[in-house]
Amino acid sequence: MTAWLLRRIAQAVVTFAIAVVLMFVLMRLAPGDPLSRVQEERVMSPEEIAKVRAIFNLDQPIHEQFVAFVKGVLQADLGVSIEHGLPVTTLLASRIVPTLLLGGAAILLNFTVGLWLGVRQAVRRGSREDRVLTALSLTGYATPSFWLGLVLAWLVGIELGWLPVAGMQSPLLSPDAPWIVRALDVGAHLVLPALTLSIVTIAGTMRYQRSALLEVLRLPYIGTARAKGIPERAVVWRHAWRNALFPVITLFGLWLPLLVTGSVFVEMVFAWPGLGSLAANAASSRDYPLVMGAALLAAGLVVTASLLTDLAYALLDPRVRYS
C-alpha cells in the first residue's frame, strides 16, 4: 500500500507539473495583451507601457519568464497581479474561504440531498415520485446556472425580500458584531448561490445513485437478506447502499475541483468573492501571474481529488487492495 501510495503521489506530481507548464505556455501563446483591461479605461503612454512590461517581465523571452516563474514558485512567491496590483498569494488567500464555503455548501447539499433522493428513486422505481423527481432534477440540470441564479435573486431577493441578492456579507454590519450575528449574515448570503449551484448539479448525483443502487438491488445477496427477514430499510441502507456508492465516489472526485473553480457564473450573478470569477476574469484580461496562481491551485486540486478518490475506493471496498 505504501509503495502504491508513493507511486501514485509521484504520478500526481508529474501530472501537476505538466498541467502547469502547459498552462504557462498556452496562456502566452494565446493572442491578447495583458495590459488590455488596464487600457480600456485610460490610454497609457509608450513610456508607461514599457515600464509596466519590465515590472512584470513581459519584455523577456518566454523561457526566461518561465524560469522567473518557477523560481518564484519555489520561494512561495507567485508574483503580483497585473490588474489588481496585489500579491497573487494574498488575492488567492482572500478568496479561498468564500470559495470553500460556497463549494462546500453546494457539495454538502449535492451529496446529502442528492444521494438521499437517488436512493428514494431507486427503491420506488417507476412510481409517480420517481418520475416527478427525475423530471425535476433533469429540468434543474438543463437550466443554465446564471439564468436560474437571476430568477432566484429576483424572486427570493427582490420580490419576496427574504434573502440577500448578492455579496457575502452585509457591509453595514459592524466587524465588531457578535460572531453568531456575522455567521448568520454570511449564512443568509450563502443560501441563494449554494442553492443555485446545487440545483444545476444535483441531477447527476441523483441519477448516478439511482442507477447504481438499482444494479445492486438486483444482486442475489439482497434477495438473501430479504429472505432472512431483515427490514427493508436496513436492506437498502446497510447492505445495498454501501456497494452502490462507488460510481458516486468517482463523481465526487470529479466535482471537487469543479466546485472550487467552476462556479464562475454563480459567483458573478451573486457577486460572491470566489476563486472562479477571479480566475475567469484574470484569464480574460491576460493577467498572467494571477492566471498561473489560479492554475497552480486548480491543478493541485484535480490531482489531490483524484488521489483521494482512489484512496476512498480502498477504504470503502475491502476487495480493493493496492500493491
Partner: protein
C-alpha cells in the same frame, strides 16, 4: 407530507405578498450610503495610480480621501483661471503669465490632525514629476518647470510656456500627499504598502477598512475644514456583473449605482422601481469608427481603400448615426461633432454633425471609381476588387456590438461590404494598438481637458493608431491649446477640419445614467469624478 399538501404549501409560498427586504440594512442606517460599482480600488493613492493602477475605481476612492489644490468648477471649463473652485488652496494669483501662486487654506488638516503645508505640495509634485515614479503624471505635468514653497502656506508654480490650462495642470492631475508620513520612505511599492492599506488624506472622508473583493468603507472626516459631510459612512461595494449591481440596487441593499449599462431594458427596470431615481450625467465616453489610413500589417503603405478621404467621407455620410444612437442608447446619448465627448466644454456651440445622405455617399464612391460592376450589390474598383472592409469590435461592449450590426446593414445599402470581426478585449487591444484592422469600433474615455485630443488626433500622437495626419489640423489644434484664454471658436475650427478629413465616423457620446435611492435629496454627481460631491449631500431626513 402528501404531494397534495406539498403543492398547497408551494402555492402559498409563491403567492406570499412582496415584503421589504429584511436584510436591506442600507435602509435602516439613514446616515450611510452604499454605492455599488464594478471594480474594487486597489491603490487609491495619488502618484501610485500609474500603469495597471490607473483605474477609475482607484480615482473614485482617492477623490474621497485626498484633496487637490482646486477643483474643476461646474462648467467643467479647464482653460483659464476662473472656472475652478478652491479646495486645499483658498486662493490663487498670477505674478506673470508663467507664474501661479497658491495660498493654502490654513484650516486644512490631514486625517491624523497634522496641518497641510506647502511642503506637502512640493513633496507630491516632486513625485508626480519624476518619470521613474509616475510616468503618466510626469507627462501630464511636463509644462510645470518648478514647484516651490514660500513659507508654510504659499506655493509657487513656474511654467515653461504660456497656455490656457496652466491652472488645470497644477490642480487636476495630482491630489496632495502627506509629506510628514511619506517623505522619509523609499519610493518602492513595498515601502508604501502600509500606507496603501490604510491611506491618510485630507479629504472629506477617511479610510476605515477594505474587504478584498467585497467592499471599501470610509467614514466622515469630522474635522473637515470645508464642512462636515452630511453622510457619515460611505461604503463602496463591488459586483463585477451588472445584473448583480442592479439586483442590489432594486433589493435596497445598495443605495446608488454608477452607469447603468445597456441594454435599455436595464434602465426601464430601474426606472420602474419606486425607491430609485435615475440621474443622467454627461459622460467622458466617445465611440467612433476609426478608419485605418495605413495598410494593416504594412504601416509604411497607405490603406488601399481608406487612405482616400472621399471614400471615408462617403462612409460617414452613409450612416444614420442618429438612428444608431436612438436604437441602442435611447435618449441617453447623442452624435458628437468631432472627437468630443459630452464632458468637454468645447462641445458647447459646436456645429451639428452632418446627417445621413446616402445619395451623396453613392456619388462620392462612384466618383472615386467604386461601382457595382457585376450586379451583386457590392461595389468594385476598376480592377474588380470589391469594396469590402473588416470592422473590428470588442465583445466586451454591448453598445458597440449592437451598433455594429446596424452599421453593417447601412453600409450594405450603399454597396459596401462590411465583415464584423468580434474579438475579446485582450485581442481587440492588441490588434487596435498594432493597427491590424480596416475599421475599428473604438471607444475612449477622455479627460476633461480638450488638450488630450493631441493624443489620438494629431500627426505624432502616441495613440494615433489610424495614421491620421493633417498638418493643417495640427496647426489649428496647437493654436487652440496655446491660446491664453478659453476660446471655443479656435477649438471649433479644429473640429471642423477633423470632420472634413473624416479620420473616423464619430458615432456616440453617452449620457451615463446613475441610479440613486430616493431617500437622498439634492443629489449632485460630478461628471469628472462621479461620487466626489457626496460629502455635500445632506443626510436623509435632515
Amino acid at each position: 407530507m402528501s404531494w397534495t399538501a406539498r403543492l398547497v404549501l408551494a402555492a402559498v409560498l409563491a403567492g406570499a405578498p412582496p415584503a421589504r427586504p429584511p436584510l436591506a440594512l442600507a435602509q435602516r442606517e439613514p446616515s450611510s450610503i452604499v454605492i455599488v460599482t464594478g471594480q474594487q480600488a486597489t491603490a487609491p493613492v495619488p502618484t501610485l495610480m500609474e500603469g495597471p493602477q490607473n483605474t477609475l475605481a482607484n480615482y473614485e476612492i482617492a477623490d474621497h480621501l485626498f484633496l487637490r489644490l482646486a477643483g474643476v468648477g461646474p462648467g467643467l471649463v479647464t482653460a483659464g483661471d476662473r472656472g475652478f473652485v478652491p479646495l486645499l488652496a483658498k486662493s490663487w494669483t498670477r505674478r506673470d503669465s508663467l507664474t501661479l501662486v497658491f495660498e493654502l487654506d490654513p484650516r486644512a488638516r490631514w486625517h491624523d490632525g497634522s496641518p497641510v503645508t506647502a511642503r506637502d505640495v512640493t513633496f507630491t509634485f516632486g513625485r508626480a514629476r519624476d518619470q521613474t515614479i509616475a510616468p503618466r503624471l510626469a507627462s501630464a505635468t511636463r509644462r510645470i518647470a518648478s514647484v516651490e514653497a514660500e513659507g508654510d502656506h504659499r506655493v509657487v508654480f513656474q511654467f515653461t510656456e504660456v497656455y490656457a490650462e496652466q491652472l488645470y495642470d497644477a490642480t487636476f492631475h495630482v491630489a496632495i500627499l502627506p509629506a510628514h508620513l511619506l517623505a522619509a520612505l523609499p519610493s518602492t511599492a513595498k515601502a508604501w504598502s502600509s500606507f496603501v492599506e490604510s491611506p491618510v488624506g485630507s479629504g472629506p472622508y477617511r479610510w476605515v477598512r477594505r474587504e478584498e473583493g467585497q467592499f471599501i468603507e470610509l467614514a466622515a472626516n469630522d474635522g473637515f475644514f470645508l464642512g462636515r459631510p452630511g453622510i457619515e459612512r460611505v461604503i463602496v461595494r463591488v459586483a463585477a456583473s451588472s445584473d448583480a449591481r442592479i439586483n442590489l440596487l432594486l433589493a435596497g441593499e445598495a443605495d446608488a449605482m454608477d452607469n447603468i449599462p445597456p441594454p435599455t431594458t436595464n434602465l426601464a427596470r430601474v426606472e420602474a422601481a419606486r425607491d430609485v431615481r435615475l440621474v443622467p450625467v454627461p459622460s467622458n465616453n466617445l465611440g467612433y469608427l476609426l478608419f485605418n489610413q495605413r495598410a494593416p500589417g504594412h504601416r509604411d503603405r497607405p490603406h488601399p481603400i481608406l487612405a482616400d478621404r472621399e471614400v471615408r467621407r462617403a462612409l460617414v455620410l452613409a450612416l444614420d448615426r442618429d438612428l444608431l444612437v436612438r436604437a441602442v442608447l435611447g435618449q441617453y446619448g447623442y452624435v458628437p461633432f468631432g472627437p468630443v465627448s459630452a464632458q468637454l466644454w468645447i462641445r458647447h456651440g459646436a456645429p451639428s454633425h452632418s446627417p445621413q445622405d446616402q445619395s451623396m455617399a453613392r456619388r462620392l464612391l462612384a466618383g472615386r471609381g467604386w461601382v457595382d460592376r457585376d450586379g451583386d450589390g457590392i461595389r468594385e474598383n476598376r480592377s474588380g476588387a470589391p469594396l469590402s472592409l473588416r470592422l473590428l469590435v470588442t465583445t466586451s461592449s454591448l453598445t458597440r456590438t449592437q451598433m455594429a450590426a446596424i452599421i453593417q446593414e447601412q453600409l450594405r445599402q450603399v454597396g459596401v461590404e462590411l465583415d464584423l470581426v468580434r474579438v475579446e478585449p485582450a485581442v481587440w487591444l492588441e490588434r487596435h494598438t498594432a493597427g491590424d484592422f480596416d475599421i475599428d469600433f473604438a471607444a475612449s474615455n477622455q479627460d476633461p481637458s480638450p488638450s488630450g485630443l493631441v493624443h489620438s488626433w494629431s500627426c505624432g500622437g502616441p495613440g494615433n493608431v489610424g495614421g491620421y495626419c493633417d498638418p493643417g489640423a495640427d496647426s489649428l489644434l496647437q493654436r487652440a491649446i496655446a491660446s491664453p484664454k478659453a476660446d471655443r471658436r479656435l477649438w471649433h475650427g479644429f473640429l471642423r477640419r477633423v470632420e472634413e478629413d473624416a479620420p473616423a465616423a464619430f458615432i456616440y457620446t453617452q449620457t451615463f445614467v446613475f441610479g440613486v435611492n430616493r431617500r437622498f435629496r439634492d443629489v449632485t454627481i460630478r461628471p469628472e469624478s462621479s461620487w466626489s460631491a457626496i460629502w455635500r449631500w445632506p443626510a436623509p431626513g435632515s
